[in-house]
């Protein structure tokens, strides 16, 4: 299959990015150094081109009702300009995808989904649209830039008249941005460093990108690749679909109970409620290495006797902490904060400790 390209593909290559195949797209994984880029976001401001992400418009009579039937969170709680994190549970106990739900106006929503799941999600939403809600897949029309870090607010404020400093986390507004009309400025991100995500029409992508870099020059703004995006999200314990959650992991097991609201019926909600009440057979935990080693996806988690108790789903050496950190599923009796576990790294079983998220 031919890789899809984001609008600014050639610009990233010209900036020296190493491009890799990710979720069907040719994407910048690194411009200079994963660690430098990571620290740039934690300490100043960096920009990710995440235009590969998918956007669906869900509009018209029945829009809220459709969303309520397929997402785990309670979208009735949304007000205009408010965003919710949620997942699409499947019918067999797993997760189709995790997503953001934007309420634009009454019966007017935008769903933002993972790039690798766009086709699957689109089919999923359509399958449950039995009431003729107007659905539109806007994924190929919208570019998305995540401007993240403690200096992001200073950068973004130069480009719009909206008081972005006053915007609360998980809210958005439609504004004129860098002279471009109808841009969604969203106080969200996947780094835990603060900042904004900017949705622009593809035709204005280059203009927006350049304006962001001009406004950020004084703050040391840099382009950031997917490599640092992964280590940044991992330091905060945010799930990555395909690693930490997938078609077989339940939202309860994954610690997504906080976005799984049994105030209404949704896909598989009866079974998930039973699971919540009866208890799960595995739980997603965060752990840090006590002995030196770097956990990686699919490494076994074992007990002191070497018996397998689970599996790592994400891991790296934290650029900020300089030690190995990871996420993984274990049997519930090993999931308590402070529990001692071991990670099988090549021929060694190295000690680790279950800790609370975030790591940083």
């Amino acid at each position: 299959m031919e890789l899809k390209k984001v609008v600014l593909n050639d610009l990233h290559a010209a900036l020296g990015a190493k491009m890799v195949s990710f979720a069907g797209f040719n994407m910048p994984v690194r411009y200079s150094s994963d660690i430098e880029e990571h620290k740039c976001v934690r300490e100043a401001v960096g920009v990710f081109d995440v235009s590969h992400m998918g956007e669906f418009s869900v509009k018209g009579p029945g829009a809220l009702d459709l969303i309520q039937r397929i997402v785990s969170n309670d979208a009735a709680k949304l007000f205009d300009g408010k965003i919710q994190y949620a997942c699409f549970p499947n019918e067999t106990g797993g997760i189709v995808d995790d997503l953001l739900v934007y309420k634009i106006a009454e019966e007017d929503y935008m769903l933002v989904v993972n790039a690798g799941n766009i086709d699957k999600d689109w089919a999923w939403v359509n399958k449950f649209n039995t009431t003729g809600v107007k659905l539109e897949n806007l994924s190929d029309q919208i570019s998305l830039f995540a401007v993240q870090g403690p200096k992001a607010v200073e950068v973004i404020q130069q480009l719009t008249t909206v008081d972005v400093k006053a915007m609360e986390y998980y809210t958005f507004t439609t504004a004129t941005f860098a002279g471009i009309d109808n841009v969604i400025v969203s106080a969200t991100g996947y780094t835990g460093a603060g900042g904004f995500e900017i949705y622009v029409p593809n035709k204005d992508a280059e203009k927006a990108w350049k304006a962001i870099f001009e406004a950020g020059a004084a703050y040391g703004i840099k382009p950031i690749g997917l490599g640092a995006r992964d280590t940044l999200r991992l330091e905060k314990g945010y799930c990555l679909y395909g690693n930490d959650i997938d078609d077989t992991t339940s939202p309860i097991e994954a610690g997504l109970g906080w976005v799984t609201k049994f105030t209404k019926k949704f896909t598989n909600s009866d079974a998930l409620l039973k699971q919540k009440e009866a208890g799960v057979s595995r739980k997603l935990i965060g752990f840090k290495m006590i002995e030196r080693g770097i956990p990686r996806s699919h490494y076994e988690i074992v007990d002191a006797q070497g018996n397998k108790i689970g599996e790592v789903t994400s891991g790296t050496q934290s650029p900020m902490l300089g030690i190995g950190v990871g996420m993984g599923y274990v049997k519930p009796e090993f999931a308590a904060i402070g529990a001692e576990i071991f990670i099988q790294i090549r021929d060694k079983q190295l000690k680790a400790e279950v800790v609370k998220f975030p790591f940083v």
Partner: protein, 126 residues
């Protein structure tokens, strides 16, 4: 990128510098660049007699883990002690302070079977 002509190379992106019947082994400038920031060099084969192409350790970057393959048969004498605290020397000085192991070579003539600088650069297309 830099590929000294006095070294020999492998298709797995190691280099070897022969000094009599001992040799230094590391990874190439191309390898370190592809891997990205090196955060850990895990070599526990000191004292082991290994054959050519056997794994002598592992190098870990932020995003990837790669096995290290011995260019020619020999006994691992020493792991570069600098790499414990500064694995990023592999990035900044891959042929100098970023060397990985010192090897007692079984048969110095074996290097003749490895790649020259010209053959290696042709292989990686630079």
């Amino acid at each position: 990128m830099n590929f000294p002509s006095e070294l020999n190379y492998t298709k797995e992106h190691e280099w070897i510098r022969l000094e009599g019947d001992t040799a230094y082994v590391g990874v190439t400038d191309f390898a370190q660049k592809e891997l990205g920031d090196i955060v850990y060099v895990d070599i526990t084969s000191t004292g082991n007699d290994l054959g050519a192409d056997e794994i002598f350790g592992t190098v870990e970057a932020v995003k990837t883990v790669s096995d290290l393959f011995l260019p020619i048969a020999g006994k691992v004498l020493e792991v570069n002690p600098l790499l414990e605290a500064k694995p990023d020397l592999v990035n900044s000085d891959p042929y100098g302070d970023g060397w990985m192991i010192k090897l007692k070579v079984a048969n110095p003539a074996d290097v003749a079977g490895l790649l020259s600088m010209e053959a290696y650069t042709k292989l990686i297309g630079v």
